[in-house]
């Protein structure tokens, strides 16, 4: 309906291959970015940031990550929670600075205390560590396929949670077994710790989300992305046309984990401030992210954001309605939340197995064809 594509022709493969080939979309996208960076920061208050915006951005990153693995490369993972934990804990260690022991002469070990690393880089390094762990747990994917793999990833989930529970070094021997984010600043502005301002945390996460989304798009449009999709759609054929399954799957696991790790780090450091592995990064988290990807749409960057938004907003909305308006007990609201989410998952899988993103595509297609039905 709003599309006027006459006279939009491409004279180069660059312009033909761009992310938004249709001018209207392109402009909408730039407008959106502009608003997100220049307008939103001034409108935010703590409630919005805490309740909606931060979780949305952070989970979007996790969803992007899982989407790369499951949506693009076709490897189902139930280990997201565990990987987020890796991100969070390693970020914590980098933030707080930790000791390393290096061999000195005569079998002596010398202890070096690393200085705390800037939070931005701590988050990145968190991602890197997670990537390494992810690759490790990705190795079996070469032999194990389908559900078998999905279940195998549970090993990662449970082992990692257990590990961070038992391994005192990981949480700096704190009595509670919790990790707590110290005050850290970027360009002199606090982004972690108790005294942060809404807009700062928002921008901090937004930067990660936007950049990572762009990177995701770039990776999935290039030959790496194609080799993933080839593996996803028909692994044998893919191998026969020259895709190295080892490389394809491990890169997918690595990059996916990198994203998930970063989101875990942000979740802990910026959003929660403190975390106990069992309750924050449990199996439920893995499913939450998985749902985001399913509802949002497998194999779609946009879908990751839509899915995250949906899964973040739904409970908030319910809570406001049932608890806020009707004054019910919170646990009932929570249970209803489960019921509704569960039902929605099923409904989605039945009506639109390709998720909100597909819905969006269909709508867009209709708008382009308007007034014609097809």
């Amino acid at each position: 309906m709003f599309y006027r594509e006459v006279g939009e022709f491409k004279t180069s493969y660059r312009s033909d291959g761009q992310t938004f080939p249709i001018a209207l979309d392109r402009h909408a996208y730039y407008a959106l970015l502009g608003v997100a960076f220049l307008v939103v920061p001034f409108l935010l208050n703590d409630y919005w940031v805490k309740a909606i915006v931060l979780p949305f951005l952070i989970y979007s990153i996790a969803a992007l990550g899982l989407n790369i693995l499951t949506g693009y490369c076709g490897q189902v993972s139930l280990g997201s929670g565990g990987f987020m934990a890796v991100g969070a804990y390693s970020c914590y260690k980098f933030m707080t600075g930790f000791d390393v022991y290096l061999p000195a002469e005569a079998g002596e070990w010398v202890r070096y205390a690393l200085p705390p690393i800037n939070v931005f880089f701590s988050v990145l390094l968190g991602g890197v560590m997670t990537a390494l762990v992810g690759i490790l747990f990705g190795l079996p994917s070469l032999r194990i396929k389908g559900f078998y793999l999905a279940v195998a990833t549970l090993a990662a989930q449970f082992f990692l949670v257990w590990l961070f529970n038992k391994w005192e070094w990981a949480f700096n021997y704190s009595a509670s077994g919790q990790i707590t984010a110290p005050e850290r600043a970027v360009f002199g502005i606090d982004v972690t710790g108790p005294s942060t301002s809404a807009w700062a945390t928002y921008l901090f996460c937004l930067v990660f989300a936007v950049v990572l989304a762009l990177v995701a798009r770039n990776l999935t449009r290039g030959h790496l992305g194609r080799s993933w999709m080839a593996i996803r759609d028909m692994d044998i054929a893919a191998e026969i046309i020259g895709v190295n399954p080892l490389k394809a799957k491990l890169t997918a696991f690595g990059i996916s984990s990198f994203y998930i790790g970063i989101s875990g780090a942000l979740l802990f450091a910026v959003y929660l401030g403190a975390a106990e592995v069992g309750e924050v990064f449990g199996i439920q988290k893995s499913f939450l992210v998985l749902f985001m990807v399913i509802i949002g749409g497998l194999g779609s960057v946009l879908g990751s954001f839509l899915g995250a938004a949906f899964m973040v907003l739904l409970p908030v909305a319910l809570k406001n309605l049932l608890v806020g308006q009707l004054g019910w007990a919170t646990d009932i609201a929570a249970h209803l939340d489960f019921v509704i989410v569960g039902a929605l998952i099923i409904v989605f899988l039945i009506l639109e197995p390709h998720g909100l993103a597909q819905l969006w595509r269909t709508i867009k297609q209709k708008l382009r064809l308007w007034p014609f039905p097809h």
Binding site: E5, V6, E8, F9, K10, T11, D16, P371, F372
Partner: protein, 668 residues
């Protein structure tokens, strides 16, 4: 002729105009071709370079001035360059229809004596190799697409790109020669020879000079103020004069961009992508498009259809008015805005015509409501009348003076005369020089004073002063009472009704007009279903009284509109019958291209025609038919003959025909 209609000598030939473009419009796009998924483009500078490289390559191949170079292929920049390059070296390009058979090609090649041919691909090469077996004249074939040609003997085959490369390497020594030839050429020289696919006999080679074409281009560009900012989609056959004038003459003269589609299949998509601002298409294109729009809307939701119909309805009212700058009430205008935002805009977008600033249709009559539909959408669609011999343009409709049933006013520099028999003659700077190697044909068509007879009968509409074409002159005759008889005029009006597929009107030298009707099985069939009318066969459906009823109402409506016209008053249909079988090419009743073979039909169905005129109200007939597999069979039928109401003639006009008859005693 006034000076405005001629071209200055420094721009007297195509090569000079292209040179001018390279300097004036240098970096502006000259040609685009959708290839390998994107639009490959050439600026005027690049195009000029391509042309010169090719030209030198041609010289190297041994092309001499006055040589003929056949050009066979779909619309591609390479072929437009070829034609200009040919003119550069003083040779004459002869575009040939790419789908014509080996024989047709052979005839043309032989007739024009082409020593060279520049063709598209293996298919054309094979054709020419076949030809060259018969015509020894052909010396060199240059192909653009090397696919499948590797194993051919390259003694006389040349790759287009290779020729150009050779040309580039030889630039140093041959540039002067090229410039010498370019300078030698004069406006009076032949710019192109176009073979008209003659409906009768062998095709004739129409020789058009640089003056002809460029003058026409100059005038018509001025007429519609076409500038270098236009863009056009070149999709009509290159051998057809229209494409030559629009994509060669006007494009080079005005310096606008010629866009070549990827292939026939992607034409619509490409049209939408490019967003042509200047567009020509035959009526059937617009009919087809409208039908497809209707069909697609059929499946739309009720709400959408409601919106759509409403918008179209309102647009029909205000659209043309707005287009012609007449004033429209504010609310109506606002509503139209809204319609545009919601329906019309998207619709135009889908058709790919939203950018069209000047659109033309011609060739045959276009249905008024079809024509109006597009104008109401805001497309400035106009009609023109022309022919190969005139470089297309004889008359055209000025902006703001558009009527579905006329073809407009004489183009700038064109004089028009209607002779006694009602035939249209013209004299113009675009009037062709001669039929190649066919002086007697030339003499028949073009007299000493340069008047060219069109072979069409027409007259100037008293109210609008626009020319109206009524029929082929040879089909136009007189009724017994001496009144003008132009069957096509009535037939066209009838054929605009969807349920009438074909119709033949009789009346030459008779007292009144009668008509055969062929119903359109699909349209009438649907109608029958909707009104639950049962029928077992075409014959039964055709004979159904309800069908007769609706046909009769159509005819009477047509009669009313015919009656509005003084001269053609007596072309009203007094009696008619609905034929029991479709006129069929297998039975030789219509041509393969769907034109009625009047004579054949008259002879074959003489009994029916007699019956209609002797007043009997039914007639028995037994016709032999030929099935697709060639078997013959016969069908018998008794057909009802009906009278249709005709408009009575006002006394004032009653006297007029006598004078009319007196003027043309030959027909009395």
């Amino acid at each position: 002729m006034t000076t405005t209609t001629t071209v200055p000598p420094e721009l007297g030939t195509f090569p000079r105009v292209v040179q001018r473009n390279a300097t004036t419009f240098g970096e502006r796009p000259a040609y685009r071709e959708k290839a390998f998924g994107i639009w490959q483009g050439w600026t005027w500078i690049q195009a000029h370079e391509q042309v010169r490289a090719l030209a030198i390559g041609l010289i190297d191949l041994g092309v001499e001035p006055a040589d003929k170079i056949a050009v066979i292929g779909r619309n591609r920049p390479a072929f437009y360059w070829t034609m200009i390059a040919a003119q550069y070296v003083g040779a004459i390009p002869v575009p040939v229809y790419q789908d014509s058979s080996a024989d047709e090609v052979a005839y043309v090649m032989e007739h024009c004596g082409a020593r060279f041919a520049v063709v598209d691909d293996q298919e054309q090469v094979d054709k020419l190799l076949d030809v060259s077996a018969r015509t020894p004249i052909l010396e060199r074939i240059v192909y653009v697409d090397p696919r499948g040609l590797r194993k051919y003997d390259h003694a006389l085959l040349h790759d287009f790109a290779a020729v150009q490369e050779k040309g580039r390497t030889l630039r140093a020594e041959l540039d002067p020669e090229l410039d010498r030839r370019a300078a030698l050429a004069a406006g009076g020289d032949a710019a192109v020879i176009l073979y008209t696919s003659g409906t009768t006999g062998r095709p004739k080679g129409v020789v058009l000079t640089h003056d002809n074409v460029l003058a026409t281009a100059k005038n018509t560009c001025a007429f519609d103020s076409l500038s270098e900012h236009e863009s056009i989609l070149a999709y009509l056959p290159m051998a057809w004069v229209g494409d030559f004038v629009f994509s060669m003459a006007q494009a080079t003269w005005a310096g606008f961009c010629v866009n070549c589609p990827e292939n026939a299949g992607t034409m619509h998509k490409d049209l939408q992508e490019i967003g042509a601002t200047y567009f020509f298409a035959p009526p059937r294109f617009f009919e087809g498009l409208l039908t497809s729009i209707r069909i697609r809307m059929e499946d739309a939701s009720a709400f959408k259809r409601w919106l759509f119909d409403g918008a179209i309805e309102r647009a029909r009212a205000v659209g043309p008015a707005l287009l012609e700058g007449r004033d429209v009430s504010l609310p109506a205008r606002l509503l139209h805005r809204l319609d545009h935002a919601l329906i019309l805009g998207p619709l135009l977008n889908a058709t790919g015509l939203s950018a069209v600033r000047v659109g033309y249709t011609a060739g045959e009559a276009i249905g008024p409501e079809i024509f109006d539909f597009y104008r109401s959408l805001g497309i400035n669609l106009k009609q023109l009348y022309g022919q190969t011999e005139a470089c297309v343009f004889v008359t055209q409709q000025p902006d703001g003076e558009v009527h579905p049933d006329t073809v407009g006013v004489p183009c700038p520099g064109v004089e028009i005369r209607i002779d006694d028999s009602g035939e249209v003659l013209y004299r113009s700077p675009g009037a062709f020089r001669e039929y190649y190697k066919n002086p007697e044909a030339t003499a028949d068509t073009k007299d000493a004073q340069g008047w060219v007879s069109t072979g069409d009968a027409g007259f100037f509409d008293s109210s609008s002063g626009h020319l109206r074409i009524i029929d082929r002159a040879k089909d136009v005759g007189r009724l017994a009472n001496g009144h003008l008889f132009a069957p096509k005029f009535t037939e066209n009006k009838l054929k605009f009704y969807p349920d009438i597929l074909e119709t033949v009107v009789f009346g030459r030298d008779r007292t009144f007009c009668t008509a055969f009707i062929n119903i359109d099985l699909t349209a009438v069939g649907n109608w029958a279903e909707r009104n639950n009318i049962a029928y077992a066969s075409y014959q039964e459906l055709a004979a159904h009284p309800k069908v007769y009823g609706s046909i009769q109402s159509h005819i009477e409506a047509v009669n009313r509109s015919v009656a509005e016209d003084e001269r053609l008053f007596d072309c009203q249909v007094h009696r008619f019958l609905v034929l029991h079988k479709e006129l069929d090419a297998d039975d030789g009743e219509i041509t393969r291209t769907g034109k009625v073979r009047r004579r054949t039909v008259e002879q074959k169905y003489a009994t029916l025609i007699e019956a209609m005129h002797d007043g009997s109200d039914q007639v028995y007939i037994e016709t032999e038919i030929t099935y697709e597999d060639g078997r013959k069979g016969a069908i018998r039928a008794t057909l009802e003959i009906r009278d249709a109401r005709v408009e009575p003639r006002a006394d004032a006009a009653a006297r007029e025909p006598a004078a009319d008859a007196a003027r043309a005693p030959a027909h009395a």
